[in-house]
């Protein structure tokens, strides 16, 4: 029992550290990639290739003056960014990072917890994330912040519906399980889910962009209209937490997309490779290679997120709502219908 608790504790800390590290270096990569896309060089002064830039940014954030507006609700004002950060970090709990591995004779699972309603948990926690933005924007007692918060909540609620229906179709394809580990394991043999759910993947991807408040759906914080949106009144590390949480969300949603649609830690010809290397099931090396494959996929997704941000202009608000309700929602319903019919004839549907 004690070893179980200790092992889980270690995994918790590792996932926490990885989430933060990836988020920190996402900011570096965001700047670097945007520079490359614009024929610039990007940060290259702090350390080799500017690799210490995130530390410099963090240090700058900490030393900035902390301003809490007089007219704000202080408790909620502080609660907002905390809630956003906590929910962003909590989502990493159900993601399976690698195959189970024997370390010192005992089998350890490379996941904080494999609950059988992992998908529901994920959606629940992401929904709570909206509260952080809403509370933060409202407690600021500033009309721009409030408008940004309202936009954020309405946008996230609208796109969650299409996203949820796309995931229902995915769950039907993967045999009715809500456990992320099982969804990933199912893609071990045969094709990745994206082959059966191409439309579902596109819908999920667009919704993920909207859920993480990334361009072209970054209306809640558009500087041009709202002076920064829901975090207008925030300064110092509280602002840093908001910005940081966005990158953690991006990392987690990339991880979820890779797990749902691209097989997570599985990759084509994985078993052939393991056989050629003479690795038995449960080997540390299999876990490590799978982890590497998973992170390659996550890296590609994060890069595509950024690539889109530095290509597309922002949607207008009515266009955003139009796209969410009049295109994505019917499309996801259509996708669900098609999936049900196809899976019925494939014999995967049991009544």
């Amino acid at each position: 029992m004690l070893t179980f608790i200790i092992s889980k504790l270690i995994i918790c800390v590792v996932v926490f550290a990885i989430s933060l590290a990836v988020a920190a270096y996402s900011t570096w990569w965001e700047r670097k990639l945007s520079a490359l896309l614009q024929d610039r060089v990007g940060p290259d002064r702090a350390g080799p290739f500017g690799l210490l830039q995130p530390l410099a940014d963090g240090g700058k954030m900490f030393f900035k003056e902390e301003i809490i507006p007089n007219v704000s609700n202080k408790f909620l004002f502080i609660l907002g960014p905390g809630l956003v950060m906590v929910t962003a970090l909590m989502t990493g709990a159900v993601i399976p990072w690698a195959k189970d591995a024997y370390i010192g004779g005992a089998l350890y699972s490379m996941q904080i917890t494999d609950i059988n309603i992992g998908v529901l948990y994920l959606f629940g926690v992401v929904s709570i994330g909206v509260y952080g933005i809403m509370i933060g924007g409202w407690a600021s007692n500033n009309k721009y912040a409030l408008l940004g918060a309202i936009r954020a909540s309405s946008q996230m609620i609208s796109y969650e519906i299409a996203m949820g229906i796309a995931v229902i179709a995915l769950i039907i394809t993967s045999g009715g399980t809500l456990s992320l580990r099982e969804i990933v394991e199912q893609q071990d043999a045969g094709f990745a889910n994206v082959v059966w759910q191409p439309l579902g993947f596109i819908i999920f991807f667009v919704c993920a962009l909207a859920e993480t408040n990334r361009a072209p759906f970054d209306l809640p914080e558009c500087e041009a209209e709202l002076v920064g949106g829901y975090h207008t009144e925030y300064s110092s590390m509280k602002l840093g937490l908001f910005l940081f949480a966005e990158y953690i969300n991006m990392f987690i949603s990339s991880a979820v997309m890779a797990a749902f649609y691209f097989g997570g830690y599985n990759f084509p010809f994985a078993h052939e490779l393991y056989d050629a290397m003479g690795l038995a099931d449960g080997s540390k090396w299999i876990a490590l290679i799978g982890f590497g494959a998973y992170f390659t996929k996550i890296f590609i997704f994060i890069s595509v997120f950024m690539w889109i941000r530095w290509t597309l202009p922002r949607f207008r608000y009515d266009q955003l709502m139009n796209l969410g309700w009049r295109y994505l929602l019917p499309l996801s319903l259509l996708n669900l219908g098609i999936t049900v019919v196809v899976e019925f004839f494939r014999g995967n549907l049991h009544f």
Binding site: L37, D39, R40, V41, D44, W310, T311
Partner: protein
């Protein structure tokens, strides 16, 4: 009511075609355009380490030349200060004492010589005015400073170091060199005849 014929229809607000409504082809096209820039040449130059090639005749940070023996050429005649349209140059003259022959070329020299780099417009007229070939503009860029006072460059920043001579051969065009080869008195006559005696003010 139509007032003029000059108004142009910029957009006829056409309905989007079905293909455009799909967004995705347009998005992919846009992403390919930005993606192609990943492989293009960077426009940025990492400045202090890398510099762009400069024209030999670039007019930057001034230098006060020494002659071949290492003595300062400037005699504090003040013609550069007169020529300067921005009034950036000030100087104080002093008489050379015995034993200073190796320091100063002629009997009179500039005790202080200051150029205010914030006033200077780098026109090069000081260089043109100089009868002693003492001042030249070089292709070195003026440093950035935190205080305005630091932009007033004194002799310590203007006079070239004996062991680190600055090549100004590109600034010395053939015409200037020929003109300045005219023997002493004649040189001044031509110069005065051209500019001062006729009362031409620039």
């Amino acid at each position: 009511m139509k007032l003029t014929n000059r108004s142009k229809v910029v957009s006829d607000n056409k309905e989007q075609t079905g293909m455009e409504k799909l967004y995705l082809p347009g998005i992919i096209k846009g992403m390919l355009i930005t993606g192609s820039h990943l492989f293009k040449r960077r426009a940025t130059v990492r400045y202090p380490e890398e510099t762009r090639p400069m024209a030999g005749v670039y007019r930057g940070w001034h230098v006060l030349k020494r002659d071949e023996n290492g003595a300062e050429r400037c005699t504090a005649c003040g013609l550069c200060a007169v020529a300067c349209p921005a009034e950036a140059i000030t100087m104080e003259s002093a008489e050379r004492k015995k034993g200073e022959e190796s320091l100063y070329r002629e009997e009179k020299y500039a005790k202080t010589y200051e150029i205010n780099m914030l006033r200077c417009i780098f026109c090069g007229l000081c260089e043109e005015a100089c009868p002693k070939e003492a001042i030249f503009l070089t292709d070195r860029l003026v440093d950035t400073e935190y205080e305005r006072e630091d932009f007033v460059y004194g002799k310590s920043k203007l006079v070239e170091k004996i062991d680190k001579r600055i090549d100004v051969s590109k600034r010395q065009t053939l015409e200037v060199a020929e003109f300045k080869k005219l023997p002493g008195l004649k040189h001044n006559e031509v110069w005065e005849g051209k500019n001062l005696n006729k009362g031409n003010k620039h």
